[in-house]
């Protein structure tokens, strides 16, 4: 594993800007309110930067990513703003989104077993994205596809390109998915738990591959993970999400050395890390994210928090800068002190 070596502040221009994003899935009946999966999320991604979005299962990571890509169905309610390269994405016509998706921004999904079309060849699935966005003939697109497969580490690409997805292993399929996502050199790549569904033995390989390709091509990367260990450590910045909101966001050194939010601390404690002493794997946060109430009254984590005070429930809590520099953002009424663990 090679943690990204770039310092925190190498990023270039603002590329993606998400403000007050809300995503609500419809309820089963028309009257029912539905699931508020994302409840006012703000974050930025700069050119060439790696931002890790971390949180437990169900906290709204995928819902956020899909909203950025414009991939939610028509019955999912999305408000707030998503600006990519200065152009608003929310409410943009499909036709225009299609010109951006796959070219300027693309996405790798969690489950490589279902993300590829089972009835057409790897070649077709690669060629179609190249021919859609690049001015290439079929022959050129095919050659490029073979190159791409080679770059993502698929042995004998000339031959494997004729394969159907079911003829490839999970790891190989995820490599194909990566090749598809990288095909047109996007400015932003969203990787939604790209290794979660894979064998532990190849998770590191795939993550390394994504990081290597992204760095090499100076792509920005929105890396979604539930793992505040190895994966998040490869990012420049880390945003921790809980029950549809970002609760803490900071540079990766800050997050690991001086976590302020109790939830971040809990996550850190329950994750084995490379640096520092081995922590107790069994030390998990009591309760579950599914118990979380909407954020209308204070902190959604309060019911699970050992340090909850009356102020946690009472007030509207905002994500505000703490400490010097303004890079460390926190949403907490009773935060932990600096270096205390």
């Amino acid at each position: 594993m090679s943690p990204a070596t770039a310092p925190v502040r190498t990023h270039g221009d603002l590329l993606l800007s998400v403000r007050d994003l809300h995503v609500t899935f419809p309820g089963h009946t028309r009257k029912e309110i539905g699931t508020r999966a994302v409840v006012g999320v703000d974050f930025d991604v700069h050119a060439g930067e790696i931002l890790a979005l971390v949180g437990e299962s169900g906290c709204g990571k995928s819902a956020t990513a899909l909203a950025v890509m414009g991939l939610h169905g028509p019955d999912v309610k999305i408000t707030g703003s998503v600006e990519f390269d200065g152009v608003p994405m929310v409410g943009r016509p499909e036709r225009e989104l299609n010109r951006l998706r796959g070219k300027q921004l693309s996405m790798i999904f969690q489950d490589p077993l279902t993300a590829l079309n089972p009835v057409i060849t790897v070649e077709k699935q690669l060629v179609e994205v190249l021919m859609r966005h690049e001015d290439l003939g079929r022959k050129e697109a095919r050659d490029r596809s073979v190159d791409l497969l080679r770059q993502v580490g698929i042995p004998d690409p000339q031959k494997r390109i004729k394969d159907y997805p079911h003829q490839l292993s999970g790891g190989m399929r995820q490599r194909v998915m990566i090749a598809i996502a990288m095909a047109c050199n996007p400015h932003l790549l969203i990787a939604d738990e790209p290794t979660t569904a894979l064998d532990t033995t190849i998770q590191a390989e795939i993550l390394d591959l994504i990081l290597e390709l992204a760095t090499e091509r100076a792509m920005a990367l929105l890396l979604i993970t539930h793992d505040l260990g190895v994966v998040a450590q490869t990012a420049h910045r880390v945003a921790v999400m809980y029950a549809g909101r970002i609760v803490e966001q900071a540079g990766r050194y800050e997050i690991f050395d001086q976590p302020r939010h109790r939830y971040t601390r809990g996550l850190l404690k329950s994750t084995p890390t490379l640096v520092g002493e081995a922590r107790d794997r069994l030390d998990t946060i009591p309760g579950s994210a599914f118990d979380a109430e909407p954020w209308d009254q204070g902190c959604a984590f309060a019911p699970r928090c050992d340090f909850a005070i009356p102020a946690c429930q009472a007030s509207q809590l905002d994500l505000v800068p703490v400490g010097a520099g303004g890079e460390h953002l926190l949403r907490c009424a009773n935060p932990a002190e600096g270096a205390e663990q």
């Binding site: 499909e94 299609n98 993300a115 079309n117 089972p118 994205v129 859609r132």
Partner: protein, 334 residues
């Protein structure tokens, strides 16, 4: 693909053989003497005796079965009890009419059913969707013969848009090679004959195609609804592909798998519907042949028809399996 087809064909052999055995046993289970049953009530004792010797009904059962197979191999299905005509000849003369009708009905159902089902799914909850779902319910509940009568009454008798009966106007004096009238008309360049055959076929095909149409609309709709929420369709969108390419390459192709199954099953069921449709529209095909044979207990004819239906089912099954292989690479392996 060829290996796949050969394998499936070989798998069909035991099925067909089993059916031959069943038909063989069936004739021997007929009340009384099989020779008498095959000859009918009016046969003289001498005739019965002759047939018994010829068919070997006095021999051991296995030997009888062997002789029976040999007769089938020669295409000897005996003679019709009612007309005295060779069953094979009578059958071959009628067979193209039925195939033509079934194919026309299926084309009608597929060509309309898949697009309707697809658009209903894509515009779920719209007026069109409601009409498709409601209309297909109508297709399920209206009996074939009733629909045939209604169509005939309205469009042939009242409005006079279509002919009421038969396969072709005899005054056209068309040349026939294959017995498939439309094909014959096209091959000989007798366009008026071909067109007349199409007009004769239209109403029966619609009547017969109604149930498969309803089925195909429903299955396509359900299948498309399933497929559009698949991960790979989301991937296709994430790639920025146009809606047209996503529909054709990613949605429809995957959605067609269950539709292919239904088309296969329904084509078999068409043969049953053909009996009624042919009767209503006075089409002299296998269906009405079978219908009349049931009425007159014409066992030799029934026997041939049963084997024919089984053969058709087998062939269609094979075609369905092969279409799986064409649509889905995973099906080519097993």
């Amino acid at each position: 693909m060829i290996r796949f087809a050969t394998k499936r064909l070989l798998q069909a052999v035991p099925v067909l053989l089993g059916l031959v055995v069943l038909v063989f046993i069936w004739v021997r289970l007929l009340p009384g003497d099989p020779a008498r049953a095959l000859l009918g009530e009016s046969a003289t004792p001498a005739q019965v005796e002759r047939l018994r010797a010829a068919y070997g009904f006095d021999r051991p059962i296995l030997e009888q079965f062997w002789m029976y197979l040999q007769r089938l191999g020669r295409g000897d299905f005996g003679t019709s009890l009612t007309t005295g005509e060779s069953v094979l000849d009578g059958f071959l003369r009628r067979f193209p009419a039925t195939i033509e009708l079934a194919v026309a009905a299926m084309i009608f159902a597929v060509v309309l059913g898949i697009p309707i089902g697809y658009f209903a799914a894509r515009h779920r909850g719209s007026l069109l969707d409601g009409a498709a779902v409601g209309g297909s319910l109508f297709g399920f509940v209206v009996p074939v013969f009733f629909l045939a009568y209604i169509l005939k009454f309205i469009f042939a008798l009242k409005l006079g848009w279509f002919p009421t009966a038969g396969r072709q106007d005899p005054r056209i004096n068309a040349t026939h090679y294959s017995g498939f009238y439309i094909v014959d008309g096209i091959l000989t360049g007798e366009w008026d004959a071909a067109w007349d055959a199409v007009r004769h076929l239209a109403l029966p095909a619609v009547a017969l195609g109604a149930i498969p149409l309803a089925m195909i609309v429903r299955i396509t709709r359900a299948s498309v609804l399933d497929v559009i929420s698949e991960d790979y369709v989301r991937t296709a969108k994430a790639k920025g592909l146009t809606r047209r390419i996503i529909s054709r390459r990613h949605v429809l192709r995957n959605a067609l798998l269950p539709v292919a199954t239904i088309i296969g099953l329904q084509t078999g069921a068409l043969l049953a519907g053909a009996v009624l449709t042919e009767t209503v529209f006075a089409i002299n095909g296998v269906g009405s042949y079978m219908f009349n044979a049931i009425g007159s207990m014409d066992y030799p004819v029934l026997q041939a028809c049963i084997l024919f239906v089984a053969l058709i089912y087998t062939v269609i099954n094979l075609l369905t399996d092969m279409s799986y292989g064409l649509i889905d690479p995973r099906a080519r392996l097993s």
